[in-house]
């Protein structure tokens, strides 16, 4: 009898150990196979960085590359004492922005949310690779579930997001050093969500917009903009719509009219930085690194300075300089920020001097 009991216990124990080993191995395999986004395509690592933050921001930016490359939270802190963060990702679609906003407001309630409205031009999912860069970095929550459902292309499967190993298993033959180096930790790729570039490539021959058959923003895009507006009102957050100063993709006059009308109807502030180039002091021969699509550091600082003035004087955000906890956190962040400026500037100068072979 005793022996039988012992034998049964052994079986249960073995079962548990084998199950743990199998699940653990699958978990490790998955960790190994998912892209790390640490070199080349760093944009895929941006969304996850937010979770390491203290969630005490005055301003949160939401949107695509036009926010994470055109505004710099470091300057907002240094010059205006505004603690901000950019929840940006490449080609972030408006439903993804909405669910990121919904998730963010579970962590904190900022005074202001700034949303870049370029993504209004998309009414349907566009590309799995970009979906992945926004969605894989999100922690699991109802917001992520809904964002995945809203974003999937026809040939995508929800289960592949739950178990990314199903999607990425073919990488097994193409693993590189990064996959092992960043298996358990990742480096920061942004400065509070800002992706820095100091190099310069002047804007030339930027194409004008080609005629469209229909200039109206789509129903789905409006649905999610309405949801963002309603959510911010419900939470007592001021929503500010912006069109960043990027020259390309082309921003049509017809789109501008629709956004101005929307802002007016919903009592929202709307700032079109394309119309503020002169006021900001932007010079597209020196303030962009890719011919007018995105600003470089010099341009981002100019646009952010205008925004900082506006947030301080018009919206009334008070400076939080002097708050010990924030000062300590930002001291560390600014050190990294200036270190990165030095590193990139040296690299750019070397390239300018013909150092690049």
């Amino acid at each position: 009898m005793e022996e039988k009991k012992l034998s049964r216990s052994r079986k249960v124990l073995t079962f548990c150990v084998v199950t743990i080993i199998i699940i653990g191995s699958l978990y490790l395999l998955q960790k190994l196979l998912v892209p790390k986004y640490m070199t080349d395509i760093v944009e895929g690592a941006m969304i996850a960085e937010y979770y390491d933050e203290e969630h005490d921001h005055d301003v949160v930016f939401i949107g695509d590359c036009e926010v994470y490359e055109n505004f710099t939270p470091a300057l907002l802190w240094e010059e205006y004492g505004i603690n901000s963060y950019i929840r940006g990702s490449a080609q972030q679609l408006i439903w993804q922005s909405y669910y990121l906003l919904e998730e963010t407001l579970k962590y904190e309630t900022p005074d202001v949310v700034i949303f870049n409205i370029l993504s209004m031009k998309y009414n349907v999912p566009q590309n799995e690779a970009y979906n992945r860069m926004t969605l894989d970095g999100m922690k699991w929550s109802s917001s992520k579930v809904n964002s995945v459902k809203a974003s999937m292309m026809e040939d995508e499967k929800f289960l592949d997001y739950v178990f990314p190993v199903l999607r990425y298993h073919t990488r097994i033959t193409e693993l590189n050093g990064d996959d092992f180096k960043y298996l358990f930790h990742k480096d920061k790729v942004t400065h509070n969500g800002y992706y820095m570039r100091v190099d310069v490539k002047a804007a030339e021959n930027v194409p004008k917009g080609r005629p469209l058959a229909d200039y109206s923003f789509g129903e789905t895009a409006y649905k999610y903009l309405d949801k963002m507006t309603a959510l911010c009102k419900e939470k007592g957050v001021q929503l500010i719509l912006v069109k960043a100063p990027s020259l390309y993709p082309y921003w049509y006059d017809q789109w501008e009219v629709q956004m101005e009308e929307y802002a007016k109807e919903n009592d929202l502030v709307y700032i079109n930085f394309l119309e503020l180039q002169e006021e900001c002091g932007l010079d597209f021969t020196t303030d962009t690194y890719d011919g007018g699509l995105h600003l470089n550091l010099s341009g981002a600082e100019k646009a952010t300075k205008w925004l900082g003035e506006f947030l301080s004087k018009e919206i009334g955000l008070a400076s939080r300089r002097g708050e010990e906890k924030l000062e300590t956190a930002w001291k560390k962040k600014l050190d990294a920020y200036y270190e990165e400026i030095d590193r990139q500037t040296k690299e750019w100068q070397e390239k300018q001097n013909g150092g690049e072979k």
Binding site: G44, P211, A213
Partner: protein, 194 residues
């Protein structure tokens, strides 16, 4: 116990195999595949073989012709651009995250867009800028819908307000304002979303 291990291993193998098939039918658009494209540029790889099957050396579908140069969708751009001579202006746009440039060459009356795959540029669009040029079938800007139908027939579809003729994996798109053609565009379908 053995059963559990076998079931789990079988499930893993089956999910792997099932996905492999799905991968093969995809159009080189995933993160993994985009990364591979960067890493494997210039080298022979399974990916290269797969994407090369999309490429055409001969014009397909409706083909625009200018000064004797045939400009078909998804054809390699370099020989066409060389044959056309220096463009009036040139613009290139990197994607938000991925490597590779989308390029626009302007030739006054028309523009050519290209996309990059595996280190080579391919024709994605020919766009008419004025009525000094016409399609080989004889349609130019500011003509009427009737002229379009006379040249291309009734077999068009309406897509997002455009009238679209699809042929051999490319699209010829017309935009009309009232009865007047205001836009003519040859377009590759390789980069189309659903």
């Amino acid at each position: 116990m053995k059963k559990l291990v076998l079931v789990l291993m079988f499930a893993l193998v089956m999910t792997g195999c099932g996905k492999e098939k799905a991968d093969d039918s995809e159009n080189n658009s995933t993160v993994v595949e985009n990364q591979n494209n960067q890493e494997n540029q210039g080298s022979e790889s399974k990916n290269d073989e797969k994407t090369d099957t999309n490429k055409v050396t001969e014009p397909k579908g409706y083909v625009f012709e200018y000064n004797g140069v045939k400009i078909g969708m998804d054809m390699e751009a370099a020989p066409i651009i060389a044959a056309l001579g220096e463009a009036d202006s040139y613009f290139e746009a990197p994607s938000c995250a991925f490597e590779g440039l989308d390029k626009t060459y302007s030739y006054g009356s028309f523009e050519i867009d290209t996309y990059e795959q595996d280190g080579k540029d391919y024709i994605s669009t020919v766009f008419f800028c004025d009525d000094l040029i016409e399609t080989p079938e004889g349609v130019c800007l500011f003509e009427t819908k009737a002229d379009m139908i006379k040249a291309y027939g009734e077999g068009f579809k309406e897509e997002f307000g455009m009238l679209v003729y699809e042929k051999e994996g490319m699209k010829l798109k017309f935009i009309l304002e009232g009865d007047e053609i205001t836009s003519i565009e040859y377009s590759s379908t390789v980069l189309d979303v659903q």
